[in-house]
Each structure stands twice: as structure tokens, then as C-alpha cells.
């Protein structure tokens, strides 16, 4: 079995990122869009942690990769809270969660 390298982790991160981007563009449920954002952030986190790993590379990013990953996790928590509040407000005002119906600003 070939040894695991940074590129393997980057491939997993790329699949997660693309799945998240497609989730954001195709889902009509606002919460589905939010889940896409979470997938994208987590795909980026896998890259940061893989680049910071001393096991995978001799000259790695070091602990900075893990610091950035922790900041991303915390900011993702805050982002999820605000986005959820917006989605609930939208649901209260329009009695729908379908983002295609959010066209109040359309000229």
C-alpha cells in the first residue's frame, strides 16, 4: 500500500469542498445552503491540518496549521448561529424556507 502523503488529505479536502460548493448552489432549502458552507469550511480545515502535520511532511507548517483550524472552527460556529437566525427570521416573515422565494429585492 502506498504511503499516505499530504496530497491524499488534499484530495479528501477537495472532494468535501466541491460537495459543499455544489450544495450551496443546488439546494433550495436555506438550511441546505448552510450545510454546504459547513462542508466547505471543513474541507479547508482538512488542508490546514494536513499541511501542519509533522507526520506527513518534514518541513511542515507546524502548529500554525492547527491554530488556523481552531479559529476556523470557532468562526464557523458563529457563522452558523447568525445564518440560522437569518433563516429563522426569513421563515417567520415569509412562511417559507425556499431560497428561490427570497426575491423581495428583485427590481
Amino acid at each position: 500500500m502506498a504511503p499516505i502523503t499530504v496530497a491524499h488529505y488534499l484530495a479528501v479536502g477537495a472532494v468535501m469542498f466541491v460537495a459543499g460548493v455544489l450544495c450551496m448552489v443546488t439546494k433550495r432549502n436555506a438550511l441546505g445552503v448552510l450545510m454546504g458552507v459547513e462542508l466547505v469550511l471543513n474541507g479547508a480545515n482538512i488542508n490546514f491540518v494536513a499541511f501542519g502535520s509533522k507526520l506527513l511532511r518534514a518541513e511542515s507548517l507546524g502548529l500554525d496549521g492547527q491554530f488556523i483550524a481552531l479559529f476556523v472552527i470557532v468562526l464557523a460556529a458563529g457563522e452558523a448561529a447568525v445564518a440560522l437566525a437569518i433563516a429563522l427570521n426569513f421563515y417567520n416573515n415569509h412562511t417559507t424556507i425556499d431560497v428561490d422565494r427570497a426575491d423581495d429585492l428583485k427590481g
Binding site: 472532494v15 507526520l55 518534514a58
Partner: protein, 205 residues
């Protein structure tokens, strides 16, 4: 003879968690039911915490399980429950949009994968991997010290120019703490029930 100890357990666990992560990420994408999407997302993020453990980032993996899977996703599931009107549980996307999105998505994936595989330094395995033990990558104390402003993992750095960029993360840590507090208060303020306004609207209609 292949003994259990002689097997490459890092590779085996990597493939296991990588398949789970990618599979559940794609399941989130292709599932139409929002309740199932939330469940697949929990499993996907849990499996990616396994990948974090494999890279030696135990603290990040534990935080991933506690904050992401334990906190953020519970919030998302609450959102799903609050808006789970039967009309909105599975909203179908038109197949034309699916085709366009899949073409653009596979092009993006091909670009990212070719970029990841083209850098020679990234496809090369670490030559002294066998010499590194689990104790060498133990990082919880250095992470705590780094958040307090002291980088104990970079003490051997002597170049004063490089040393300037290796200061601790005390200021970002404080900023992110205040940010989280403000965001959570703002979210609670925004998401509160506005019964009076709704009642007035209905009265007017």
C-alpha cells in the same frame, strides 16, 4: 508473513476515514431530504475528526467533535426542526440546474485534484516518518501556550526576522472571543419570536 503489527495502520485508517468523509459529503449533496442531510453531515464531520486524529492534531480533532458535531450541528438540527414544514422537508432542484452544477463541480474538482497532485513536495512521503512517535506530535500544551502568547514550539528559531512572524495568538484569540460573544448575542436578538408584529399583520389582513 504479514502480522498485525507489520501492517500500515495509518494508511488503513486513512482510507477508512477518507471514504467515510467523502461518501457522506456526497450523500449530503445528493440527498433531497433535509433531515437526512443533517444526519449525513454529522457523520461526515465526525469522520473528518478521525482524519484530524490521524494527522496528529488531537486537540483540533477533539474540538471538531465538541464544537462542530456537538454544538454547531445541534444548532442546525434545531433549525431543521423549527422549519420542518412538510412542504419544505424535501425541496427538489430542477434537473437542468443539477446538470450545470455537476459540470461546473467536476471541472472544479479536476482542477483542485490536479493542483494537489502536481506539487512534488506534497506527493512525497515523509522520509523520517518511522522515527516520529506519538509523543513528538503531542501539541495540546504548545497550543495552549500559543493562545496565551508564547510559542514554545518555535523556541529554536534564532533568525530575528523570522521570529517576528512567530509571535503567539493572544490578540486573535481575544478578538475571536469577543467576536463570538457579540455574534451569539446578535443571533439571539435576531432569532427571537416577534409575536406582536405577526399578530398586527394578521389583524390588518
Amino acid at each position: 508473513m504479514m502480522t498485525l503489527a507489520g501492517m500500515d495502520w495509518h494508511a488503513i485508517y486513512f482510507w477508512l476515514f477518507a471514504l467515510l468523509t467523502c461518501g457522506f459529503a456526497l450523500a449530503v449533496l445528493f440527498s433531497a431530504n433535509v433531515v437526512r442531510m443533517a444526519f449525513y453531515l454529522v457523520l461526515c464531520l465526525g469522520a473528518s475528526a478521525g482524519l484530524f486524529f490521524l494527522t496528529g492534531a488531537e486537540f483540533v480533532a477533539a474540538m471538531q467533535l465538541m464544537i462542530y458535531v456537538g454544538g454547531t450541528l445541534v444548532l442546525l438540527v434545531f433549525g431543521v426542526m423549527l422549519t420542518a414544514h412538510s412542504r419544505f422537508v424535501s425541496l427538489r432542484t430542477p434537473s437542468g440546474e443539477w446538470i450545470l452544477a455537476l459540470i461546473a463541480g467536476s471541472a472544479l474538482l479536476a482542477l483542485l485534484l490536479s493542483a494537489a497532485l502536481k506539487v512534488p513536495d506534497w506527493v512525497k512521503a515523509n522520509p523520517d516518518r518511522a522515527a516520529i512517535s506519538a509523543a513528538d506530535v503531542e501539541a495540546t500544551t504548545p497550543i495552549g501556550m500559543g493562545f496565551a502568547g508564547v510559542r514554545v514550539d518555535k523556541l529554536s528559531q534564532t533568525d530575528p526576522q523570522l521570529l517576528g512572524g512567530m509571535s503567539g495568538y493572544l490578540l486573535p484569540f481575544l478578538i475571536v472571543s469577543i467576536h463570538l460573544l457579540v455574534v451569539l448575542i446578535g443571533a439571539a436578538y435576531m432569532a427571537r419570536a416577534k409575536r406582536r408584529a405577526a399578530a398586527v399583520d394578521e389583524g390588518a389582513v
